[in-house]
Amino acid sequence: MIGEDDVRYVARLARLRLEQDEMRRMTAELAKILAHIDKMSELDTSAVPPTAHVLDLVDVTRADRVEPGLSREDALRNAPAVADDSFRIPRMG
C-alpha cells in the first residue's frame, strides 16, 4: 500500500513539487488507482514476452547526410531566459 512517504519520494524523482494538501489527496488517489492496477497480478505472465511496441520495426536508419536543423535563434525563441546565445538557468543548489 502506497503511503505519503512513497509519494514524497516519487514526487522528488519526478521533479514535481506537491503542496501538503495535494500530497495527501495524491496518496489516497494513487492507492485507489494502484489497487485497481493490481488486478494484473491475477495473471501468470511469466511465460509471456513483453510488448514494447506493436510494429515489427528494427533499426530504422536514414542516409548519413547533413540536413538543415533548427537555427540557434529558433531554438532559443521560446526560452524563459537567455544569456550569451544560450539557455539561462538558475545556479545549481
Binding site: V7, R17, L43, H53, R77
Partner: protein, 505 residues
C-alpha cells in the same frame, strides 16, 4: 453565401460546391467563422480561433485557384491544440505551454497546409490529452452541443464539439486510449484512430508514444477516409511511421454481404447503459440486414487491458513530459532559487491535477523495485491483449462494440473520481494497446444524446473498416445536427417537463 447548413454539410459536398464554382473558399470559411461567432460562447470548442489568417488564406486560395488546385484546397479545418503549428501558439491546454510559439509544424498538419487547407483554429483538449471529458483543460470547459450541460468527451473534445456544432467542416484529433473515438461517440460525429504508424506523430506533442495516433473527426465516413488519405504516410521525422500496404480508398460500399462481425462478450459485460445497449443491438441487427453475419466472440483479457494501459500510458508520459522543466520553452516559476527548486516549482505550478497523477503513477511504476511488478507486467499483459485480437481476427473480419459505455455525462459528474473517468475508455483502450484501426460512427440517440458504434479491424485494414462503416452509416441515416439544448439550465428554470427521449428537436 446564405443558407449553408454548417451543421450538416460534409467535406465531400463542400468540395463539390467549390469545384462547381457555387461557392468560394472565402465564403465557405466565413460560414464557419460566422457559426463560431454565433455559438462558440456556449460551446467553447476552440482555444484559439485564427479568424484573420483563415479569412486571408481562403481569399488567397480563391485568387490563386489555378496554382492551388488540389483535392482539399480551400476546405477549412480545426486542429487539436496538441499538434504544433509554426507561428500559431500551441498550448496542449496546459499552463506549462501557455504562449508557446512553435518553430515547426506537425507533419500531419503540414501535409494539409501543403494541400491548401484553411485552418480555422486550435481546439480544446484535456491537458496533454489526458482525460475523457475535456474538463482537464487548464483554460476552459467545452460543452457538448447536443446538451450544453454535458461534456463532449475527450481528450479531443474540442475538435469533436467543433464539428458537431458546425464550427468546423472537419477536424484533427489524437487518440491514445480512445481520445478520438469516445468524443466522436458523445458528440454524434465520425472519428477514426488509424493503425499505429499510419500517420506520422512528428509534431504531435507526445503523451504515450507507443499508443498515440492522429486521426480524423468528421461528419461522414467518406470525409473520414478523404482526410485520412491526406495525413497518412511514412515520414522520415517519425521512425515509427510506415508506408501502408495499400492506399486508403474512398468508401462506397452499401452492403455487407459476407462480412463476419464479432461481438466480444467481455465488452458487453461491464456497465453498458441500457440506452446504449439498445442502439448497439439495433445496429448489430442492421449489420445482418445488410448481408453481414454477427457472432459472439471472446477477448478474454479485456478486463486486464485498462490496468495495463494505466501503467503503460503514464510510464511513457512521465518520460515524455520530463522535457517540460522551465528551461527551453513554456512556463518557468519565478524567483525559484536553485535549479532543482526551479524544476520542481515550474512543474508543480505548470501541470494540472490529472497530468500530475499520471506523472506520479508512471514514475512510481518505473522506479527501482517496482518496474517488474508494474511496467514489466503491463507489457506482458499487452501481449495477451494483442493475442486475443489475433485469435479473434482468424475467425471474423471485424469486431464491433459500443464506443463508450455511456452517453455524454453531465459536466462535473466524474471529475472527483479519476477511476470512474478512466472507465469511459473500457471499450477503446484495448485497440490502442494492440495498435489496431477503429472507427466510431453515430448509431442513434439515447435520451436525446448520441450513441457511438465502434468497428475494430486487423492492422492496416482501414479499407475494410471504412467500407463497413460507410454501408452502416447510409442505412442508419443519422442526422448530425445537434439541438444545442441546455437541459441543465432548463432544469434550473423548471422548464424541462416536456423533455422527451426521442430526437430532441
Amino acid at each position: 453565401m446564405e443558407g449553408l447548413d454548417t451543421l450538416r454539410l460534409t467535406a465531400r459536398e463542400a468540395k463539390k460546391l467549390l469545384v462547381d464554382g457555387e461557392i468560394s473558399s472565402a465564403e465557405l470559411t466565413k460560414a464557419y467563422l460566422d457559426q463560431i461567432a454565433a455559438v462558440e460562447d456556449r460551446v467553447r470548442a476552440y482555444i484559439l480561433v485564427t479568424a484573420d489568417n483563415a479569412a486571408k488564406y481562403s481569399t488567397k486560395v480563391d485568387r490563386e485557384m489555378q496554382a492551388m488546385r488540389g483535392p482539399l484546397a480551400g476546405l477549412p479545418i480545426a486542429v487539436k491544440d496538441n499538434m504544433v503549428t509554426e507561428g500559431v501558439t500551441t498550448t496542449c491546454a496546459s499552463r506549462i505551454l501557455n504562449n508557446y510559439m512553435p518553430v515547426y509544424t506537425a507533419t500531419a498538419v503540414r501535409q494539409l497546409w501543403d494541400d491548401h487547407v484553411v485552418m480555422l483554429g486550435k481546439t480544446n483538449l484535456d491537458e496533454f490529452a489526458m482525460g475523457s471529458s475535456t474538463e482537464n483543460s487548464s483554460f476552459q470547459t467545452t460543452r457538448n452541443p447536443w446538451d450544453l450541460g454535458t461534456v463532449p468527451g475527450g481528450s479531443s473534445g474540442g475538435s469533436a464539439a467543433a464539428v458537431a456544432a458546425g464550427e468546423a467542416l472537419w477536424g484533427l484529433g489524437s487518440d491514445t486510449g480512445g481520445s478520438i473515438r469516445q468524443p466522436a461517440a458523445l458528440c454524434g460525429v465520425v472519428g477514426m484512430k488509424p493503425t499505429y504508424g499510419l500517420v506520422s506523430r512528428y509534431g504531435l506533442i507526445a503523451f504515450a508514444s507507443s499508443l498515440d495516433q492522429i486521426g480524423p473527426l468528421t461528419r461522414s465516413v467518406y470525409d473520414c477516409a478523404l482526410l485520412l488519405r491526406h495525413i497518412m504516410g511514412k515520414d522520415p521525422h517519425d521512425a515509427t511511421s510506415v508506408t501502408a500496404p495499400a492506399p486508403v480508398d474512398l468508401p462506397s460500399a452499401e452492403r455487407l454481404d459476407g462480412l463476419r462481425v464479432g461481438i466480444p462478450r467481455e465488452y458487453l459485460a461491464v456497465g453498458i447503459e441500457a440506452g446504449v445497449r439498445s442502439r448497439f443491438d439495433e445496429t448489430v441487427a442492421l449489420v445482418e440486414e445488410l448481408g453481414g453475419s454477427c457472432v459472439e466472440v471472446s477477448l478474454p483479457h479485456t478486463e486486464y487491458a485498462l490496468p495495463a494501459y494505466y501503467i503503460i500510458a503514464p510510464a511513457e508520459a512521465s518520460a515524455n513530459l520530463a522535457r517540460f522543466d522551465g528551461v527551453r520553452y513554456g512556463y518557468r516559476a519565478a524567483d525559484a532559487g536553485d535549479l532543482l527548486t526551479m524544476y520542481e516549482r515550474t512543474r508543480g505550478e505548470g501541470f494540472g491535477p490529472e497530468v500530475k497523477r499520471r506523472i506520479m503513477i508512471g514514475t512510481y511504476a518505473l522506479s527501482a523495485g517496482y518496474y517488474d511488478a508494474y511496467y514489466g507486467r503491463a507489457q506482458r499483459v499487452r501481449t495477451l491483449v494483442r493475442r486475443d485480437f489475433d485469435e479473434v481476427f482468424a475467425e471474423v473480419d471485424l469486431v464491433a462494440s459500443p464506443t463508450s459505455p455511456t452517453v455524454a455525462f453531465p459536466v462535473g459528474a466524474r471529475t472527483g473520481d479519476p477511476l470512474a473517468m478512466y472507465m469511459s475508455d473500457l471499450c477503446t483502450i484495448p485497440v490502442n494497446l494492440a495498435g489496431l484501426p477503429a472507427i466510431s460512427i453515430p448509431c442513434g440517440l439515447s435520451d436525446g444524446l448520441p450513441v457511438g458504434f465502434q468497428l475494430i479491424g486487423p492492422a492496416f485494414s482501414e479499407n475494410r473498416v471504412l467500407g463497413a462503416a460507410h454501408a452502416l452509416e447510409a442505412a442508419l441515416g443519422f442526422d448530425t445536427a445537434p439541438p444545442f439544448r441546455d437541459a441543465a439550465a432548463a432544469r434550473v428554470t423548471g422548464a424541462a417537463g416536456h423533455e422527451s427521449a426521442g430526437p430532441a428537436r
